[in-house]
Symmetry: C2
Amino acid sequence: MQVCFVRDVSIACIATLTRQFRSRHLAILQRDNTTPQRLIGEAVNLSAPAVQRRIKRMEQTGVIAGNVALVAPAAVGQPITIFVEVELESERTELIDAAKRQFSAAPEVQQCYYVTGEADFILIITVADMGAYEALTRKLFFDSNNVRKFRTFVAMDRVKVGLTVPLPG
Amino acid sequence: MQVCFVRDVSIACIATLTRQFRSRHLAILQRDNTTPQRLIGEAVNLSAPAVQRRIKRMEQTGVIAGNVALVAPAAVGQPITIFVEVELESERTELIDAAKRQFSAAPEVQQCYYVTGEADFILIITVADMGAYEALTRKLFFDSNNVRKFRTFVAMDRVKVGLTVPLPG
DNA sequence: CCTCGAAATGCAAGTTTGTTTCGTCAGGGA
DNA sequence: TCCCTGACGAAACAAACTTGCATTTCGAGG
């Protein structure tokens, strides 16, 4: 029946299958990492200890970077999400690095990316009100002598939020 | 000794203390939700069952919106993060809603926000390579008759990534 | 074709962790 | 004053996680 695989094909098949199973495993953890290993095992046809070992392996190799609880910003008094495109005056490496450090250090800066294109940085900021944002802009942008300009977008609707990575399979 | 509180002050004090303890509790879970309840209890001066009850309460009230594993995109073959500012032709409510649905439905769209300002939507997209992004733009933007234009920023460095909400205390 | 070794698995026992139960205490209102 | 509500701690209980060991599988090399 299903014999006579060309060697490369069979290897590819196995690799694909493995990856798919891992994908399903990871997909479950990405959705809810409190899922008991027993249930994950049933979903991927594995015993609980095997599930446990795979998780440990993925944590050690860095595939799983962390396990966190997601907090609803509005429920803790931080209902405002803001995007900022930041353009620097100078793109000297040291100044870029300094900006990275400064932005990262601010707890209000939830996410910070160094990007190509018409801006240098994109920040996602979480604050309680516009006053707090105004104060933060002063601290991060005006007090710095290296910010040429910045553009602000206020989120009206957090349509889709998460850090879920698309997985094959 | 510590008597003779004016009523409002003492209430405010208690409320503040409570909130601070919750903040510490939440801060721990935001960093690592696999932390044993016993350790959390030690950190916030509470017994394990009390910790358990608070977590359950916060999950039921929506303060904790989920418990997830963070997956490293590069480790699963999705190393490219892209930002897109999308501007629509029409801002009729139905079309806005249709766009929200369409963007949310795409697994590559990790985050989608409806914003004020010079754009209508900001998307954060995770893909394996630029070819995949090109295909996605065709699907999401060109095939739609409602996208006036979009601007792309490619992330060179994911300086700070997370969904951590700043907490008082 | 066969054997070997590395890696992954299942099973079963042991351990930690999470959950429930129960009794107690403090604050608020009738 | 008394009762009620809500939250707590201690202990018992249930569930999940973790480990050791024998087995299997797969690829490499003889």
